[in-house]
Symmetry: C2
Subunit: 275 residues, 2 copies
Amino acid sequence: MRAVFFVSDSTGITAETLGSALLANFPGARFERHTIPFLGSVTSVDAVVARLRRSATDGDAPIVFATVKDAGIRRRLADAGAVVIDLLAGHLTELEAELGATAETRAGQYHGLGDLEQYFRRMRAVEFAIEHDDGQSGRDLASADVIIVAPSRCGKTPTTMYLALHYGLLVANYPLTDDDFPTDGLPRIVAPHADRCFGLTTTALRLSQVRHERRPQSTYASLAQCTLEIRRAEDLYRRTRIPFLSSATRSVEEMSAVILQSMNLRDRPRERPTP
Amino acid sequence: MRAVFFVSDSTGITAETLGSALLANFPGARFERHTIPFLGSVTSVDAVVARLRRSATDGDAPIVFATVKDAGIRRRLADAGAVVIDLLAGHLTELEAELGATAETRAGQYHGLGDLEQYFRRMRAVEFAIEHDDGQSGRDLASADVIIVAPSRCGKTPTTMYLALHYGLLVANYPLTDDDFPTDGLPRIVAPHADRCFGLTTTALRLSQVRHERRPQSTYASLAQCTLEIRRAEDLYRRTRIPFLSSATRSVEEMSAVILQSMNLRDRPRERPTP
């Protein structure tokens, strides 16, 4: 087990996300992971240096994925015997050369009025998503940027929340149930907004696994029922010409990226993902 | 306006997140941003190369933040006259040298059974968060990893969703209202779980701004009311010795990172943030 530290002078989210993505390319290796946020403010540099030294003497040098702006602190991590992979500072130097400007490495980029507007947008989006989860409300559906439709347990709710939280989009989701068939169209409440609908599907096997987790041995979770519902849903998507996507082998992040792309929501003014 | 492209063979989330964090260090410059996900699969490399060439002839070379594993594709982007800042491949080379192994640059790291378990966890967490938003349910509160308490509009809901979605934690949140005062303790329903409570506060001015957005010119949004509620809430946190944090100058990500750290939830087995 190789010790890996995600070390940051801020939240550690970027270090953890990019570092994990990099490590995933080495499926043969095993890693013991630690995240250390707020280095230099909440977390003492001395304590981390001591921890790296202990870890280094146990065998292989620990690997540190660092998003730390202070060059002095980065040097101290390297001097502690760690392999420091610098995710930030090298790229800042590239950018400085290209932009002909010096990076202002101030802490905290989230203050000020611009953020207050973003914050309102994000809060409103999350509240809209909660209110409109699983077809609970038809109120103000005309304001929705996207309405995700799918049979139960195809991944509507996490995808909705991801889009709301990260992009400040107003996202509703609506379940396709047996009651919606055998009619030919979309459920009555969402039909007027078909241009903003996006369908999810999955494989019958995967849906059955997911449903067994919720209600083991039920008809609801049976392979026959899942096969039927998936077939009906996909027929409906094709007939009503709404775009759709299988969640079977995709993460919530991947589904969100496809939906943004497919519905042309990328180039609208919106909140960017924040580090 | 300098053209900036976040280009990825996957979702583009890492390129967009890290690229935006890097650009934030140059507040004097203005950027026109474009995100191009799924390069080489959904998105044609030829089309992107042509777009970069057009953008390059308009003036300054476009800046490309790339998470693209294929070296041939990266070369084509650079040949199109773009400044390519490679966020991934250089670090993979560093890791290969350190681990003495070759990176397996396969697409899609989210398949398989491990992901199904993560998926269940994440889905359950988001559903728990929706069910327990704003004190709506006291059911199964004993299972909560964290219970966020705060006056209305201090940022409980987005922080709850972030922790649920990204870390698969079971997070409830509970509002502190006038009804909860002048008693000396936490609200009756959450009091038995004080060890898992975390308080949010903010400045009276900020709270008043946020509340005016929801109910302009109300008593609820008045500076006097906000001052009173903030003071009472902070007194309560101190008296009951629950950790707390101000959301006034912090992003949802920063608040989540502090809560994880403060409640020792980082080193529990959990879902890592995914790229």
